[in-house]
Amino acid sequence: MIQLTINQQPLKVPKGTTLLKAAQQLGLNVPTLCYSEDLEKHTSCMVCVVEEIHSGKLLPACTALAEDGMAIDTESSLVIKARQSALDLLISEHVGDCEGPCQLICPAHMNIPLMLRQIVSGQFQAAVRTVRERIAIPAILGRICPAPCENGCRRKEVDDPVSICLLKRFAADTDLSSSNPKIPEKKPRSGKRAVIVGAGPAGLSAAYYLILMGHECTLIDDQSSAGGQLQTAVPEEILPKSVLEAEIAWIMKLGLKFQSKTRLGEQITLQKLQDQYDAVILTLGEVEPEIVESMGLEGSQRGIKINADTFETSLTGVFAGGNAVHPGKLAVRSSGHGWSIAQSVDQFLKGVPVTGPVKRFQSRIGRIQESEIPEFQKEGTSDPRQNPSGGIETGFTEAEAIREASRCLHCDCRKPETCKLRDYSEIYKVNAQRFKGEERFSVEKVKQSEDVIYEPGKCIKCGICVRITAKAGEKLGVTFTGRGFNVKVVVPFNESLSAGLEKTAADCIEACPTGALALVNSEERNQ
């Protein structure tokens, strides 16, 4: 047996044990990308490095064998830095968007591409659920939103952006008008009580998500009905009262208490709310500095001062968002604030550290070249942007919606959750700018098979697929070509992907640590 220490814990392992296995024996996690249990070692990604303390050397844990007397540290600062820079480098050449530019630009961060794909496949209920994960009032926003998402839509480079906003409205309207709109499931009651002051888009959204999280919510507004500026600032022909009321009623149905004609500072004080409720959320629209001060809150030039990540004000348990912290006219932004506040408040009510919503790592392609447009076009139909045949008031028919949604170019990654590169990039705080290259590889989408898509720009050259196909005795398989920075994985003789992966497509997709090899119809979704 070999004796060594890992993170100062002594252990014995049989001769021939890798440091990775030894560390796992102690329950320690060592990240790996190119390693696969069943395959020959490749030792290329170098994110599994650990430090041997006596020599100060970095060793790839997946391959290096335990030796007598070794003192291994799997988390030393040298290790962390090395892993971080390995990942920085991998990301610096990674050509792929974790999430679609439309989603990134959407102030509510709605998973637009997923909604579009659900519409294409006729899963309208699933589509509206996707929308409501981030937007509590989609039928309303579907009529008034200036749709910044469409500005980010890559389809714009081909012809016109996908009509995202109208499609969202289509999904919401279809649901609202159905005989039994699907009420989302609520989590078990937490026994905690939150009060939301101001029933505009931000307040309604915060209330909606907090209720679903199992908290009891009271919505206070100085008007007689909820809606805030939506009630007064939007003309009827754009936002019919019937739609506004139907969507608000739908939220109210979840069990929200509404206290009308109650003005903060008049009928009730902040102090009192703090006493009565476990958390207070201020979404009361634009506020004057004096009022902020009178409530005992710290103000900023724009309104109530908050922590930008958590939406916490200077008072513990008091949160603020929407126009109260930054006046503007974008309802979708306020709506997004509502969702974010709900995340922070939920953390606060659960007694865990308040960090706000998880900020996921985002790899971004950025601006695309004209030469890359055809690659993206492989993903969407060539139809032009559709207009509702019955006019804007009626919105899309089902057929029109499906046709329009099919124009989406699927910019988002097919493996946003199982991508190990994204995961580690998050853990090791990767900065894509740190070692940014002079120029990036071109976007390439290899779609020569019904099920598999290969995007070489996302490949980290771990060689797992190369080893799988060789081991399985594929007739063609895949192989590395070229050398150095230009190494690429290809099917020999430029044959098709399906020819290369006759037997092993599923295994290769499963084992590929990034979104380079994926199922064309992957249903994996961003959380």
Binding site: M46, E438, K461, L476, G477, F480, F485, P492, E495, S498
Partner: protein, 795 residues
């Protein structure tokens, strides 16, 4: 099934133009195993000048080689082409010495001359294909260009068209010229002609032919003897006249047209007519005596010429023993000079343990670069338990600026073989492999011939030296990948795979070729071994420093007056090498730094030239012994440009496996390019430093781990130059985008610059001061080189 069909159909379409029977015959000649893949591809490329897809598919059909292997391997090695090439291949050497002497400009000039557009390498008539080559190992003749098998030295951008003209002329001529063989006539008088690559590149082949022709007309029995490298590569071609009982006379820089006179001076003509001719040309004699022949050098018997005394005096020839006197492939001569006595003793008398002990006590360390104790390595392989052990001689010398291995193989093939035989006995191997760069055709040829002669003489046989010891050596040619100098990559390559290194341990000594214990030593290491056994470990151990024993062979090149292959005792200072042996910088320029260790080494500034040649001292100073490339830089050389040059080399040579080397070196190179182009960003120098640290500590193999050294030594000794570049200045006036060419008042209006400017940036204004249009100027340096009045300034 459908896919199989598709493949077959496609193949049928492609095959029309290729005779697949020929493919079968190539396979029959070379082999059909996976390990035969590289030789097989080499054979295909020899035959078709590239690798036609139909042929590769056919190979997959009739051998055990898979499509994944054949594509993976054939795209890994730079030697292989997948596109048809021109009739002739122009290979522009990009080695260090060539780089500092303007190889990039020469390459540009070929591109311009052949009207190649960016990305093209073959002219539209398909006559020439222009390729870059890492190093041809003719560093003293820099810049060097090889067209097919003809090597041209000192190629200037302005001479490109002459070179091509000459080549096309030579081609027609050589087909009629009769080949001159290595025939040996026994006689006392001897004419020795250097036929190393450097000599040949300078035209010694033609000189050799002339000597044969001239001597045929004389009555004296004179033998013409081709000899290996003399080491004085800066004086090539070298011709030596050896007469009985007289000091021998060495003529330097001999040209074909000089031969007649030299022969006439020393040998008597046959008939009266020629006597008259001889008399009339007598007056020419002065021209070729010591005084007038510039420079005429005597050595060995009468070392009286100062520069030669200095060049040779500080040297100690162990590995290069009998340099310039021996016919490289003459087995008898090698044996007359005690050759193979050491091997014979080892094979017939000494025990493996005793051999290992001798090498251990000699203190010999690996000459390939890292300096691992040779005896220790032998001991490990000796002690490894296996029914089969392998011996590999690493001659994959890919470092730009290094040509020791080439010289050793070309000049002393038997010595390397003998060293290998001793090692084979020590470790218990019966099979040995020479792994030689394909860029060294002459070395391959000489070793091949030497091996054949050894086999014929029973030296390498089933009963070597009449013992029971079975010993057979073979040659495997590399395919142009520098990384294959790394031992695990070399093994992968011999096994017929992509030359990608793997993690060590296990070391090849425990598990190498096909999992067998494998001893890999550099060819210089092997070439040193016979001397140790003939002269005793003690005599070797006496030479050198505490931890670096014996001698080291260096290829001295760059901006030095006397470049060449030198062998010096360990412990000699860098200054002694550069100034005493090399004669200091040429053209009275100031000695700035010396680049030691090639891409794995660093630049040591002149201020630290007192540092001794010693493994530890050089590493301490941020350089590396490396395999022994030593390139001298003068004040006109830009250190940032040198760092960029080396990074671009390692980056191109990276196998592309591990993240740090694959992407890290690329990012480092990008920063260096930005610096050299005056486009650096604010924190680029810090980023460069950080990246260098990470690539050094995190890379998988030696190539990656040492790749940052040229940058780290620049950061250490020449940080001010980096900062200057970050500010948009190149103090040495080298970085193209940071400099401008101007013509000053010294201009005499001779119009030569205007005539030679390849882009018409200088208007033709006779008898007036010329001007350069900075917009058009491509900074090719031609005007400065041709100006007779030194009127072109770089600023």
């Amino acid at each position: 099934m459908t896919e199989t069909k598709k493949i077959n159909v496609k193949k049928a379409e492609d095959s029309d133009s290729f005779d697949l029977l020929e493919v079968e015959s190539l396979v029959n000649q070379v082999g059909s195993k996976r390990s035969d893949l590289i030789p097989l591809l080499q054979a295909v490329q020899n035959h078709y000048h590239y690798l036609p897809e139909a042929v590769l598919r056919q190979i997959c059909e009739i051998t055990e080689i898979t499509p994944a292997d054949i594509i993976g391997v054939s795209t890994f090695y730079p030697q292989f082409r997948h596109q048809p090439a021109g009739e002739h291949s122009i290979r522009v050497c990009m080695g260090t010495a060539c780089h500092v002497k303007g190889a990039e400009r020469v390459l540009d000039a070929f591109h311009r001359h052949l009207k190649l557009r960016p990305g093209e390498d073959t002219d539209k008539d398909r006559l020439f294909t222009v390729e870059k080559i890492a190093c041809l190992g003719c560093c003293t003749l820099a810049p060097v260009v090889q067209i097919d098998d003809v090597t041209y030295g000192h190629v200037l951008p302005s001479k490109v068209s002459d070179v091509l003209k000459d080549f096309l002329g030579k081609k027609t001529e050589s087909s009629s010229a009769k080949k001159v063989g290595f025939k040996k006539i026994t006689s006392k008088a001897e004419v020795r002609i250097g036929l190393g690559s450097c000599c040949q590149a300078s035209g010694s082949g033609h000189v050799h032919e002339s000597i044969q022709r001239e001597l045929a007309e004389f009555d004296a029995v004179v033998s013409v003897k081709p000899v290996g490298c003399v080491g004085m590569c800066h004086q090539t071609p070298l011709m030596e006249i050896v007469l009985p009982d007289q000091p021998s006379i060495l003529y330097a820089r001999v040209q074909e047209q000089n031969v007649r006179q030299i022969i006439q001076k020393h040998f008597k003509p046959i008939n009266p007519l020629q006597k008259i001719e001889r008399a009339t040309s007598r007056w020419l004699e002065d021209l070729y005596t010591d005084e007038a022949w510039e420079p005429v050098i005597r050595y060995a018997i009468d070392v009286r010429d100062k520069p030669v005394a200095a060049f040779l005096g500080r040297q100690k020839h162990i590995t290069t023993e009998y340099c310039g006197v021996s016919d490289p492939v003459d087995l008898n001569e090698y044996q007359e000079k005690d050759g193979f006595t050491a091997a014979k003793k080892c094979l017939t008398e000494l025990s493996p343990e005793a051999i290992v002990e001798t090498v251990l006590s000699s203190g010999l360390r690996g000459r390939g670069g890292a300096g691992f104790p040779t005896g220790m390595k032998w001991k490990i392989v000796h002690e490894a338990v296996s029914d089969q052990k392998i011996l590999i001689c690493n001659c994959d010398e890919g470092d730009p600026g290094a040509f020791m291995d080439r010289m050793l193989l070309e000049s002393y093939p038997y010595r390397v073989i003998e060293g290998m035989m001793i090692a084979a006995k020590a470790i218990g191997a019966h099979e040995g492999i020479f792994y030689i760069r394909a860029e060294y055709p002459l070395a391959v040829k000489r070793v091949k011939e030497a091996l054949q002669r050894c086999e014929a003489a029973g030296i390498l046989s089933d009963h070597s030296f009449d013992s029971d010891y079975v010993l057979h050596f073979s040659i495997q040619e590399g395919a142009g990948a520098f990384v294959c100098g790394e031992e695990t990559a070399l093994i992968a390559s011999v096994e017929g795979r992509r030359g990608m290194p793997r993690f060590r341990p296990p070391f090849p000594a425990e598990s190498g070729l096909n999992g067998r214990p494998t001893l890999i030593n550099n060819c210089e290491t092997f070439a040193t071994v016979p001397w140790i056994f003939r002269n005793g470990a003690e005599s070797f151990n006496h030479l050198g420093t505490d931890h670096s024993k014996g001698t080291k062979v260096f290829s001295l090149a760059g901006k030095v007056k006397r470049g060449g292959l030198i062998e010096v005792p360990m412990g000699i200072s860098i200054r002694e090498i550069v100034e005493d042996i090399g004669g200091g910088c040429a053209d009275d320029k100031k000695f700035k730094a010396v680049q030691i260790g090639g891409p794995s080494g660093g630049c040591i500034p002149a201020s630290l030239a007192h540092i001794p040649v010693d493994y530890e001292a050089l590493t301490e100073a941020g350089a590396m012994m490396g395999s022994g490339g030593l390139v001298v830089l003068d004040e006109t050389d830009c250190i940032v440009d040198i760092a960029r040059y080396f990074l671009s080399f390692t980056q191109q040579q990276s196998c592309g496996k591990c993240t740090f080397c694959r992407i890290g070196t690329k990012r480092m190179l990008e920063i260096l390019i930005r610096l050299c182009e005056g486009k650096a960003k604010k924190d680029d120098i810090q980023k460069l430093e950080k990246l260098a640290d990470h690539v050094k500590s995190g890379s998988l193999c030696g190539l990656g781990k040492t790749a940052p050294n040229p940058v780290l030594s620049t950061l250490r000794y020449f940080r001010d130059e980096l900062i200057a570049h970050a500010e948009g200045r190149c103090p040495a006036g080298k970085c193209k985008t940071l400099i401008q060419y101007k013509i000053n008042d010294q201009c005499i209006g001779c119009t030569r610059c205007a005539q030679d400017c390849p882009v018409g940036a200088i208007p033709w204004t006779p008898y007036q001061v010329h001007e350069i249009d900075p917009e058009r100027c491509i900074r090719c340096d031609t005007c400065r080189q041709v100006c007779p009045a030194d009127a072109v300034e770089v600023g």
